[in-house]
């Protein structure tokens, strides 16, 4: 724990703290949220912050604090799906490509190039047009469009490792590619996988928020930060910025802290390799 804190540095510890609060808030939302996030009361519209409503209420009279807490769930789960799918598939594709090399590598690289050519959000919208708007569709579609980025970065590092003696030697013993990859290659590209995951998490969070904002991912009246930014627009014009601004603030805080943590961990790991 101490070693981790040292690796993160003081700002990193702060970032980890913020991220931890968001995660805990999301997990404990049913216990700590004072109100139902989807039910409001017209008489309670646009209340300012008070002891009853910590962050005030929105145009439907719903408690913004409760909606932020519940919203943290969908806002974290979406990127989590993206990171998990991208991490597993991206790493798998990259390492398969590197292990076999030659024609397999060329073929996989060309397919990845093809995927690169699609703008992420366009691919996601296409998938949503076909499968209907939902968080899962949006997250899976984004995962597919993120795979080439992850795969390409991991491939380039694994390609270097592939030719080193610690990989060549077991190969000469007739040990299977899968075993060598799992035992030797994966642990050595792991820092890159972790850094990639934290970066992807941030991007995915923003893009899923954007899709929710457009009404293509999480559907109202469910709480979601992206959706709250979008919902709050009209109130913003009427002089009640709380909903949009708070939801936006949480998106920014979460993405920024995770990005910083990833940079510290990945940067440190990379520095460790050089020494």
């Amino acid at each position: 724990m101490k070693a981790l804190a040292k690796r993160l540095g003081p700002i990193g510890v702060g970032a980890a703290f913020i991220f931890a609060i968001v995660v805990v808030g999301a997990l404990l939302a049913p216990l700590i949220a004072p109100y139902d996030p989807t039910i409001g009361s017209v008489t309670q519209r646009f209340q300012g912050p008070s002891l009853d409503h910590l962050f005030g209420t929105d145009q439907a009279g719903r408690d913004i604090f409760s909606r932020i807490l519940w919203g943290a769930r969908s806002s974290l789960v979406g990127p989590l799906i993206v990171v998990a799918v991208t991490g597993v598939l991206g790493t798998g594709i990259a390492l398969t490509s590197v292990w076999w090399g030659g024609a397999v590598d060329s073929a996989i690289s060309r397919v990845l190039d093809l995927l690169f050519a699609f703008p992420n959000l366009l691919l996601a919208m296409l998938a949503i047009a076909v499968f209907g708007p939902s968080l899962t569709t949006a997250a899976l579609a984004l995962s597919i469009s993120y795979i080439p980025y992850t795969a390409r970065v991991i491939r380039s590092m694994a390609l270097r490792e592939r030719n080193l003696a610690y990989v060549r030697s077991p190969q000469l013993q007739g040990i299977s590619g899968a075993v060598i990859t799992a035992r030797h290659l994966v642990p050595n590209v792991a820092p890159l996988i972790i850094t990639g995951a934290t970066i992807n998490f941030g991007f995915a969070m923003i893009e899923i928020a954007a899709l929710s904002f457009l009404g293509l991912a999480v559907q109202p009246p469910l709480a979601d930060w992206g959706l709250m930014v979008s919902n709050g627009q009209q109130s913003l014009l009427k002089g009640y910025p709380a909903e949009s601004m708070l939801a936006g603030l949480f998106i920014v805080l979460t993405v920024a802290s995770l990005g910083y943590i990833g940079e510290r961990l990945g940067g440190r790991a990379a520095a460790g390799r050089r020494s």
Partner: protein
């Protein structure tokens, strides 16, 4: 004369570039024969094809034409997992760079253990005991078994690599610049260890190096390679004492030693060598 344990016949390997003029014939119709229990040094500058030759012999590269016989048996030109496993019991390799020859994220014992697992029926406890034995043979202590590579010096890591090569009990070891990355004093220790192991276990070495002083210390015979071909071969005393080919003479002349000054003509010969 007994039958050669390594017998390479007319081996050729061309690396093809995108255009035909980018193609490089790294090994060009090379034939060598190594007697059991001896050490053959393959010398030559970078790019002479000596490492490619070694990689073909162990099975890391596929030759275009020619045959490799190990212990009298012709090995499959295109290696797969099964043939590699069989070949590994005959021949093992020690790689150049002690930095990268061991996985930095695993205890060094794992490197030796996985070879034992691939080639012997021993259980985990027996393998651990065997690792300890092998470590002692290469001058390491039992406490080094659980070290990670970063905790060991370059020389110690190279000893682990040698232990790994010995684990499959091969009759041949290919040493690809195995001491090139080490300090001179450590070099001497490792060479002494290799020499002792060769005598006690009756091993055959194929020693790839660019360093002629190393050749003098360990090799019985030498072949000199230049641009994929063998230009001179003979016993170590012959080749180093009375080089016949101008390229060998140039190599010897260029070997740094105390008080070295280029002879007249050497610089010009080098220039022509580089230009050609």
């Amino acid at each position: 004369m007994t039958e050669a344990i390594i017998s390479v016949d007319q081996l050729t390997k061309t690396f093809r570039g995108k255009r035909s003029r980018d193609s490089v014939t790294a090994v060009d119709a090379v034939s060598i024969a190594v007697q059991p229990g001896t050490c053959l040094a393959v010398v030559g500058e970078s790019g002479s094809g000596k490492t490619t030759l070694a990689r073909i012999i162990v099975g890391l590269e596929t030759a275009d034409t020619g045959t490799v016989k190990l212990g009298g048996k012709t090995v499959a030109r295109r290696a797969n997992r099964r043939t590699l496993r069989a070949r590994a019991r005959e021949i093992q390799m020690v790689f150049q760079d002690p930095q990268s020859s061991l996985n930095r994220r695993l205890r060094v014992q794992v490197a030796v253990d996985e070879v034992l697992r691939a080639h012997t029926p021993l259980n985990a406890k027996q393998r651990r005991a065997r690792c300890r034995e092998l470590f002692e043979q290469v001058g390491l202590e039992a406490r080094h078994l659980d070290a990670i590579p970063d905790e060991l010096s370059g020389g110690q890591r190279q000893r682990v690599a040698i232990a790994r090569a010995l684990a499959a009990e091969p009759s041949i070891i290919v040493l690809d610049e195995a001491v090139a990355a080490l300090d001179v004093t450590v070099q001497a220790q490792i060479l002494k260890l290799l020499d002792e192991l060769r005598r006690s276990k009756g091993l055959t070495y194929l020693f790839i190096t660019h360093d002629l002083s190393v050749v003098q210390m360990i090799a019985d015979e030498v072949v000199v390679m230049r641009r994929g071909s063998i230009v001179e071969r003979g016993t170590t005393a012959q080749v180093l004492g009375d080089p016949q080919h101008p390229y060998t003479q140039l190599l010897l002349e260029c070997a740094p030693r105390p008080g070295w000054k280029p002879k007249r003509g050497v610089i010009r010969a080098l220039r022509e060598e580089i230009a050609s």
